[in-house]
Symmetry: C2
Subunit: 165 residues, 2 copies
Amino acid sequence: MTLSTAFMDTGHDHANCMESALDRASALCGERGVRLTPLRRRVLELVWVGHKPLGAYEILDTLKAERRGAAPPTVYRALDFLLQHGLVHRIESLNSFVGCPDPLKPHGGQFLICRSCGLTAELNDHRIDQAIRNSANQAGFAVGRPMIEIEGLCPYCRDAGEGSP
Amino acid sequence: MTLSTAFMDTGHDHANCMESALDRASALCGERGVRLTPLRRRVLELVWVGHKPLGAYEILDTLKAERRGAAPPTVYRALDFLLQHGLVHRIESLNSFVGCPDPLKPHGGQFLICRSCGLTAELNDHRIDQAIRNSANQAGFAVGRPMIEIEGLCPYCRDAGEGSP
DNA sequence: CTAAAAATGTTACAATATAACATTATAGAC
DNA sequence: GTCTATAATGTTATATTGTAACATTTTTAG
Ligand SMILES: [Zn+2]
Ligand SMILES: [Zn+2]
Ligand SMILES: [Zn+2]
Ligand SMILES: [Zn+2]
């Protein structure tokens, strides 16, 4: 995902976007010899539905309508699996989860989160990462996993003048 | 706070460090016409004690031993006040709170958090901020409040070989 | 002193997350 | 195919983090 397409344009074919994300997930799990079960696949699908972070209990509410014994462990275990394999990220500032568009290479995650509509885009800008590493190194700190969550306004909400009225 | 002193050295006079933080807080509240009550001052003192993030219920446990009717709202209200005035920051990835060494100028917060000992340092590196703004601008995103929390190893734990054995 | 405002006390509950153990489904050995 | 080990899910209970709502006390200002 390049910078200029961090936020999908309005003509974005979302059905195809979601399907290809699920296909990539399926392939990745196949290569790693782990199982993308129907439950895990469904949870992944749900976090991909809106390109916006979803809370565990929002996911649970949907699952409850679809499965007999859905309970918190149901969704948290699926999310743990998806997190372990880089298929979703956890957004710490929202206690929520969002699909990762590029699960193959391990990375922390740089997120642009719209405060108006919730739309979230993932960056992976090496310049940001480098700036952080430079600064941390000067402090004598060994960087593990940088977490970057930037609240603000997405292009659509910004242009619509949202977020302050 | 300059980069090279992000983590205090071992000879760090912590009693003095904490006292001066409280004095700065007192002065700031005076200038703003708001009250740094004994409760608020005590909570601020507690988050400063260890230079490491403290959970609300950890603070509450201490307060309970000192005051009659300490309950969750007691500590959350004090923290809300301190957050509003920039005297503490919330560390989202830990659901915890840490004192701000520079409450005068508003800022998001760039944190280096040791996964071994919990020691946390606050950076405010304009280059990181600039890298983020550049990248977000290219995505058409209007940056509000960037949040940066970097997990890793502080200089002492790194040198002691902690964090992986 | 008195009234308004601010701060704190108190009770109850909401939202998020995990522990522990039982059951079911899957994969591989035979 | 059957059996067995493992992985996944079901189920119940509970831990952790955070708020709502209203009562009481303290502080400020007239
Ligand atoms: Zn990602
Ligand atoms: Zn938006
Ligand atoms: Zn700060
Ligand atoms: Zn450390």
